[in-house]
């Protein structure tokens, strides 16, 4: 049997990406030097990734990328960077044998399953964590910054970044970006794909810097002392990629209401198609507000916010703190006094959580385990919506739901008028029937994988533990497959995925991986037709 895929070419390009991963690794290294943290985790990782990268590149000095090689390259890249990103966590816990001492032997990330989970959760911008204790006592600032940085790198897409800077990817670049970018298809903004990739990364970088400046200005203005420069940078790095990691144990609850309000529009922007920002910057702002996907996206979040705000305002919190939750009765009393019957807090908590979940960011400005079932089920539903196509958000993507709703309406119309021909329209454009079919199969596949995944996680929890409620299992699956992050119960916003067995964690690493790449580019690798024909 002869392989019809040039795996060497794909791996060679994975090598190029790994080699260049050394550059962003220098940032936590600098931070480590500044704070006087041990530098071993980063120095060793830089050496490792450069060596692995150069080694892989030698497999094929002149790689040629065709569509099939593209799928393999993208899928393998995401797995490889996650493995590299796990190395600093492992070195932190174990040290380098015979060279350095462990920095923090207690770290939960010493377990390879946990380290890989945290790394994959970072790069896929999921934001689900297995960090036991989130504080600077348990982990150095440089390690915590690396955790934030992985999300920023993964947000706009590590392959898109590679296309932007690696000249050898100019030919197959569109194919690669297509396999990686969220949503059906990419929009080429400029004749050269590398310029398109640079434009997207430029808009991404610009918004990130703007958010950091705004957040830090709160500290300078004396509004929010908790928003130190470190925190401003750390949260800037995880808002725009819809990541959700926070070096604060209480996530965004640690900050003032003003800071929370500032983060909301940035999460909205992160879930918006970045091509639209490019149009705004090139002097065509109507493209943003006239875009039907954007309108539908804002409308969905607005509706969700209004309903949840109403529920919270009317007192839709749980009656008593359930046993084993991440909060106690005192916390429940505090939030009840703060929210119920109060307009601004109800609106702020509802808007922040609705936006955070729809865009799949996964930040929390309160422990929404304290919400009653109606509001919680709305959030579970929101986990499937997702951001826009071409955004950094995960899950199914708003545009797919929009197309599905429209084609269902068409179906109803053609039932009454069998001869009528109705193309599905998205704004002014019509959508190709093949694209509609692709959207249907993706969404169906997503839902099937969700239920099968939830079933497997549940079986594994029966075998080993922990004891999980149905809502907890469903939310954990939806949150990892959709790259959302927090779920409900033990995996709630202030909780962690630590209690799961190693097998479950590896399984969820897979869910995050295929969720980020939108399933098809990974699943196609599992078919024999892909390899042999």
């Amino acid at each position: 049997m002869k392989l019809r895929v040039d795996a060497r070419a794909s791996l060679s390009l994975v090598g190029s990406v790994l080699k260049y991963l050394a550059v962003p690794l220098c940032l936590p290294l600098v931070v480590a030097l500044y704070y006087g943290d041990p530098v071993a985790p980063f120095v060793a990782t830089i050496a490792l990734t450069v060596a692995a990268g150069v080694g892989l590149e030698r497999l094929d000095p002149d790689p040629e990328i065709r569509p099939r090689e593209g799928f393999l390259m993208v899928a393998a890249t995401w797995l490889a960077v996650a493995i590299v990103a796990a190395v600093p966590y492992l070195i932190e816990a174990h040290g380098i044998p015979m060279v350095t001492q462990p920095i923090n032997p207690e770290s939960t990330l010493g377990n390879p399953a946990n380290a890989l989970f945290e790394a994959m959760s970072g790069f896929t911008t999921t934001g689900a964590t297995v960090l036991g204790e989130i504080s600077f006592d348990a982990h150095t600032r440089s390690i915590m910054l690396w955790r934030q940085l992985t999300q920023w790198l993964g947000g706009m897409g590590i392959v898109v970044l590679a296309v932007a800077i690696l000249p050898e990817l100019s030919v197959g670049g569109a194919q690669l970006m297509d396999a990686e970018a969220p949503g059906p298809g990419i929009e080429k903004l400029t004749p050269r794909i590398a310029e398109t990739a640079r434009a997207l990364w430029g808009a991404y970088l610009g918004l990130t810097v703007l958010e950091i400046v705004l957040l830090y200005s709160l500290n300078v203005a004396g509004v929010d002392q908790a928003m130190t420069l470190y925190n401003a940078v750390a949260h800037g790095l995880t808002t725009m990629p819809t990541g959700g990691f926070s070096p604060e144990a209480r996530s965004i609850e640690a900050f003032s209401a003003t800071a929370q309000w500032i983060i909301i529009p940035f999460m909205v922007a992160a879930g918006t198609n970045f091509a639209l920002f490019w149009h705004v910057l090139t002097g065509d702002p109507r493209r943003l507000f006239g875009d039907s996907e954007f309108k539908f996206y804002v409308g969905a979040m607005g509706t969700l916010t209004a309903v949840i705000a109403g529920i919270l305002f009317a007192g839709g919190l749980v009656g008593a703190a359930p046993a084993g939750e991440t909060f106690d009765a005192a916390y429940l009393e505090t939030v009840r006094a703060q929210i119920v019957g109060q307009v601004e807090p109800s609106l702020r908590y509802a808007a922040f959580q609705a936006v955070s979940i729809v865009t799949t960011t996964g930040y929390a400005n309160m422990d929404f385990n304290a919400w009653g079932p109606p509001a919680q089920y709305l959030l579970l539903f929101a986990m499937f919506i997702g951001g826009s196509a071409g955004s950094t958000g995960g899950a199914v993507k708003i545009v797919r739901w929009y197309v599905i709703l429209k084609s269902i309406r068409r179906e109803l119309f053609t039932t009454a008028h069998p001869e009528a021909i109705r193309p599905v329209r998205l704004g002014g454009r019509t959508i190709d029937e093949n694209a509609v079919r692709g959207i249907y199969s993706f969404t169906l596949l997503y839902i099937v994988i969700f239920f099968v995944g939830a079933g497997l996680l549940f079986l594994d929890s029966l075998r080993i533990g922990p004891t999980l409620s149905v809502l907890e299992v469903l939310s954990a699956t939806a949150a990892t497959l959709g790259n959302v992050g927090p779920g409900f119960g033990i995996v709630g916003p202030m909780g962690s995925y630590l209690a799961f067995s190693d097998a479950s964690k590896y399984f969820m690493v897979g869910l995050m991986w295929i969720g980020r790449l939108e399933i098809i580019p990974v699943l196609v690798l599992l078919t024999s037709e892909y390899w042999t024909r």
Binding site: H417, E419, A420, I421, P423
Partner: protein, 445 residues
């Protein structure tokens, strides 16, 4: 004026016939039989040869020509003819095209392709159909003075409130003037005592509101409800443009097209239209979709016979009004006798438009009645005009017979002309004139 017409098909011949009386006309065609025939049937000179070649054009005397009309059946040929003419002379060029893309290009940069005036067959035909849809029972509608004035032609049937009345009795509509009555194809100027009989056609000029009001009273049963249901049968270019124009006027038409790919293409381009893929002569389909309830059916298939069939089927199912595209000029009258309410011939629409344009001269705007029997002119009054600063009853005495002043607009306001109305310099007057006196009127007003 010396006019060279390239292409002696239906359009070219009928333009030649329109212009022959007043101008020197030379017709070029590569078919010798056609040019021979024209030499005898019309008072024109036929030249045989390829209109895109310089030698043929020179043979036709292009150096002395004032105007060249390219009216072959092929868009590209017509455009090349105009470019060639521009390269060797400075005659005014008119090109006829079918493809609206060429028209769009030409509109963006006048003088593009060396064409001075471009007419698009399909668009013109669609426009003339859509104009009629706004006015039930109207057979022909033309706007003047930037839309402030409308000229319309109506057929009078037994139920019409003006049937068997004199013009003086019928003249009870505000801002509306009866200008002419067409009896058996002859034009009669409307005088107070002229009797309007069943089967006549009346030509009125007035404000759009008054014309609509008149239309409503002429055909009360057809004007019920303003949201008219329009079904277009056939996704030809004319069908497509008609749907597009109707969409832009707020209609939601239905369009039936048999070809799968074409139907899909149209559905993508027409967001407000329900496009159906079916054979329009499938009676079961027509019944299932309740085509009989439609107010208007436009038959725009590519064959005259099918259009007739569709119109008759529609009529029988209860459609109030049928408009059919009829390619062959000679069939128009026949089809209208058999049961098509209005027959529109794209070629004669274009010929009319080109003839109209060549006559415009001193007038701002011109419309032709019954192809060439009379014309309606819009003229801006200057100090030398015999109308200037005089009441109408005085100036009319100086005008030839066969002239009626239909409407006046002053600073974009509509004024109903009556005997004592004083016309001022700068007013726009819309006058109806018999074809024989048209030229004279145009120069003297």
């Amino acid at each position: 004026m010396r006019v060279v017409i390239i292409g002696a098909g239906q359009v070219g011949s009928s333009i030649a016939a329109d212009l022959a009386s007043a101008h020197e006309v030379i017709v070029v065609d590569c078919d010798e039989e056609r040019t021979e025939e024209l030499n005898y049937s019309l008072d024109v000179l036929g030249v045989t040869g390829d209109g895109t070649s310089v030698s043929t054009l020179e043979e036709a005397g292009i150096g002395e020509a004032d105007m060249v009309i390219a009216s072959t059946d092929d868009d590209e040929t017509n455009i090349v003819v105009c470019s060639t003419v521009k390269a060797i002379s400075d005659a005014f060029t008119i090109a006829r095209v079918k493809n609206t893309e060429y028209l769009r290009t030409w509109e963006r940069s006048e003088r593009a392709f060396g064409v001075d005036f471009m007419v698009c067959t399909n668009l013109l035909a669609a426009e003339s159909i859509v104009r009629m849809i706004g006015l039930p029972a109207a057979r022909d509608v033309d706007p003047f003075a930037g839309g402030k004035v409308q000229m319309a032609e109506f057929e009078v049937d037994e139920e019409s409130p003006v049937a068997n009345q004199t013009v003086a009795d019928a003249d009870r509509f505000d801002s509306l003037t009866f200008v002419a009555i067409l009896k058996n194809g002859c034009v009669e100027i409307a005088r107070g005592e002229t009797l309007i009989e069943v089967g006549d056609r009346v030509v009125v000029i007035g404000s759009p509101e008054s014309v609509r009001e008149f239309a409503g009273s002429v055909a009360p049963e057809e004007s019920q409800g303003t949201a008219e249901e329009v079904v277009i049968v056939g996704g030809s270019e004319i069908g497509y443009h008609a749907a597009r124009l109707l969409e832009s006027r707020g209609f939601k038409p239905r369009l039936v097209e048999q070809d799968t790919d074409r139907a899909r293409d149209l559905a993508e381009r027409l967001p407000q239209t329900v496009v159906m893929e079916s054979d329009a002569t499938d009676i079961e389909f027509l019944e299932r979709e309740h085509i009989g309830d439609a107010d208007i059916v436009i038959a725009a298939l590519d064959s005259d016979e099918k259009n007739l069939l569709v119109s008759l089927l529609g009529r029988r199912m209860g459609v109030e009004r049928t408009i059919a595209i009829i390619d062959t000029n000679d069939y128009v009258e026949l089809f209208e006798t058999v049961g098509v309410d209005v027959g529109v011939s794209p070629r004669s629409v274009v010929a009319e438009e080109i003839s109209r344009f060549t006559r415009e001269g001193e007038a701002e705007n011109v419309a032709l009645i019954e192809s060439d029997k009379a014309e309606v002119l819009e003229i801006e009054v200057d100090a030398e005009s015999i109308l200037a600063d005089r009441p109408i009853h005085e100036s009319v005495a100086d005008l030839p017979d066969g002239v009626v002043i239909g409407a006046i607009t002053r600073d974009a306001e509509f004024i109903t002309p009556r005997g004592d109305t004083v016309v001022e310099v700068g007013d726009h007057v819309v006058v109806f004139a018999d074809i024989d006196v048209g030229e004279e009127v145009a120069t003297r007003l």
